[in-house]
């Protein structure tokens, strides 16, 4: 039982990261119909910057968090300004490749600045692991899960209860109609990238004390986060969160009970199965797929 719980919690931890990445995907997708394959890099940047501010520059803990999130948000802004906005005709293939290219550039910069080593810093709260029915859960794990849940709630409120959030959703379905309704589409796109980047950073900052962070974690996170988003139905925040946790738990269980090397394949196989048999995702609806521009 305790072994099972151990796996469960470690699955929830990594699942939380996937959920956040999936949320980040959805934010940008909801505003722009673009899938940002550089999403995973934001997580890595968040974690590495946090190390830089708190360990290298020895800045106070909270200040480091704020700086790391802000800087990552700025990178998201730069990405939107320099590589997304200049493109007039947002052709699908072009957008896919641009975001891939950006992820490559970001990774290159990270490798240059941080090298290939893993980085770490102290957890948010010091203390012994908590004993839950025999499983030893690190305190940081609870932080990760807690922060993720908070973000999810905030996102839900934002997109469904605020004018800004609803305006952002309108932009993806029909930017022309949104423009006519007085929505500044360009600004919505920019905000979506900044928010998405910050969300990724939060995930990275929270999870690094547990899993460490290296410069090239990005693509795998992006792929699995995307799996989460697909599972839940692209565009549906709640769905991708659930998808993320499911993937995380299944991965952890596979690694623990079956074969540790195969765990990376779990998310991929789930994604392919969903794409082939129910592309709308477990929670999505078919008409939404057909209506989207892509």
């Amino acid at each position: 039982m305790s072994v099972f719980l151990q796996f469960l919690f470690s699955g929830l931890t990594i699942g939380a990261v996937y959920a956040m990445v999936g949320l980040g995907f959805n934010i940008i997708y909801n505003a722009t119909s673009i899938i940002n394959l550089a999403q995973g890099e934001f997580v890595v940047i968040g974690g590495l910057l946090m190390w830089f501010f708190s360990e290298s520059l020895r800045l106070p803990f909270l200040l480091s968090i704020v700086l790391a999130i802000t800087f990552t948000g700025l990178i998201g802004l730069l990405m939107e300004r320099l590589t997304i906005r200049p493109i007039k005709k947002k052709d699908l293939l072009l957008m896919i490749m641009i975001t891939i290219a950006v992820s490559i550039v970001l990774r290159g910069i990270l490798m240059f600045k941080f090298g290939k080593d893993p980085y770490n810093y102290s957890p948010f709260t010091e203390g012994d692991p908590i004993n839950i029915y025999g499983a030893y859960i690190q305190q940081q794990t609870l932080w990760v899960i807690g922060i993720t849940t908070l973000c999810i709630i905030l996102m839900y409120l934002f997109f469904n209860k605020t004018m800004l959030g609803k305006a952002m959703k309108a932009c993806a379905v029909d930017p022309t109609a949104a423009r006519i309704a007085g929505i500044n589409v360009e600004r919505m796109v920019m905000i979506s990238f900044v928010m998405s980047a910050m969300m990724g950073a939060v995930a990275g900052i929270a999870v690094t004390p547990i899993t460490l962070m290296e410069y090239d974690r990005g693509p795998m996170l992006a792929v699995k986060g995307f799996c989460a988003a697909i599972m839940g139905g692209l565009g549906r925040g709640r769905g991708s969160v659930i998808g993320g946790f499911i993937i995380g738990i299944l991965e952890s269980m596979t690694a623990g009970y079956i074969h540790s090397g195969a765990k990376d394949a779990v998310a991929l196989i789930i994604m392919l199965v969903i794409l082939f048999f129910r592309p709308a995702g477990i929670f999505g609806s078919k008409t939404i797929i057909d209506l989207r521009r892509f």
């Binding site: 899938i35 590589t83 200049p86 493109i87 699908l92 293939l93 072009l94 896919i96 490749m97 641009i98 891939i100 290219a101 950006v102 992820s103 490559i104 550039v105 970001l106 990774r107 290159g108 910069i109 490798m111 240059f112 693509p219 792929v223 995307f226 799996c227 697909i230 692209l234 074969h259 090397g261 195969a262 990376d264 394949a265 991929l268 196989i269 994604m271 392919l272 794409l275 082939f276 048999f277 592309p279 892509f294």
Partner: protein, 311 residues
């Protein structure tokens, strides 16, 4: 003088023949050989993306299948290399069919990610269950034909480029034929295409299989050249690299794929100075070409030349 495919083919063949006599060091020949191998992958992707209009981020998967199948069959089971290469292509083709049947109902992003997922799954499989796991394995037999072993840089150079030019001729024939027109029509308008009798689903599968076979051929020749392979050569980055070749050179043009492949192969050499920056430079080049040379170098150059010709 009109620029026709035949003329370009002749000039290219000439260049291929003369090249090793001007640049005859083992080093340059080896780069040229890798360029040839990459040309094969790029041509396959070009047919799929540029002509049939389908996105694929999983080329590395087929490349890897070709390499591993051919290497394993020839090394562990004593198959003659030519046969193991062919079987590598067949296995790759089968994988393409299995992937294509469900995947081609998908469009756009979904298709892109499905192919990406496929490529990654192959990578994981090779990593876990391939001989030697993540470290790979060596002692792969070199390519031989009727008793002649291709083990000098010059001989392998000619072997590879002979294959490239043959497949190029095949591809050019294909593009300018009933089959090629059907592909291109499908790219422009699937609805109208099927109204004219084109069996669109079946054609998409064929395009996928074609690109997979090209990639598998490249993979097999790669394996029998370097004689030591590991899963790290068959990852997402490899798929992206092939994508770059096609994009930079010109998605809609087979010669563009060749030019792009050569350029991307030369890149690490040009970047030798900037070893730490290499990933960065790849990304920057990709971004810049996407932002400014949207159609790819070759179509842009061809357009300029033809405008000049008409004036």
């Amino acid at each position: 003088m009109r620029i026709t495919n035949k003329r370009i083919f002749l000039v290219a063949s000439l260049i291929v023949l003369i090249f090793p006599f001007i640049f005859d060091s083992a080093y340059t020949l080896s780069i040229a050989t890798f360029a040839g191998i990459n040309c094969l992958s790029a041509m396959g992707l070009c047919i799929l993306m540029g002509y049939a209009g389908q996105v694929s981020l999983g080329q590395a998967g087929f490349y890897g299948i070709g390499a591993y199948v051919s290497a394993i069959l020839s090394l562990n089971y004593g198959f003659p290399v030519v046969f193991s290469t062919l079987i590598g292509c067949v296995v790759s083709a089968l994988a393409a069919v299995l992937l294509a049947i469900p995947a081609l109902r998908l469009k756009g992003h979904y298709l892109a990610v499905a192919t990406l997922g496929f490529g990654e799954i192959i990578h994981v499989v090779l990593n876990e269950w391939g001989p030697g796991g993540p470290s790979g394995f060596g002692d792969i037999p070199k390519f031989y034909l009727f008793g002649y072993v291709f083990n000098t840089p010059l001989s392998y150079y000619f072997l590879i480029w002979a294959v490239v030019m043959t497949l190029m001729a095949f591809s050019l024939n294909l593009i300018n034929s009933r089959f090629g027109r059907a592909l291109r029509s499908m790219h422009d308008s699937e609805t109208a295409s099927s109204a004219m009798g084109v069996d669109v689903p079946s054609l998409k599968i064929k395009a996928f299989v074609l690109s997979a076979v090209y990639a598998a051929t490249a993979g097999a020749f790669y394996a029998h050249y370097v004689t030591y392979i590991s899963p790290s050569s068959f990852s997402l980055f490899q798929s992206v690299l092939v994508l770059m070749m096609v994009v930079v050179g010109g998605i809609t043009n087979l010669w563009g794929a060749v030019v792009g492949a050569i350029m991307i192969t030369l890149l690490p050499e040009a970047l030798r100075e900037f070893k730490e920056y290499d990933i960065l430079v790849y990304g920057l080049i990709l971004i810049l070409s996407l932002l400014f040379f949207n159609k790819g170098l070759v179509p842009i150059i061809l357009e300029r030349l033809q405008k000049g010709h008409r004036a």
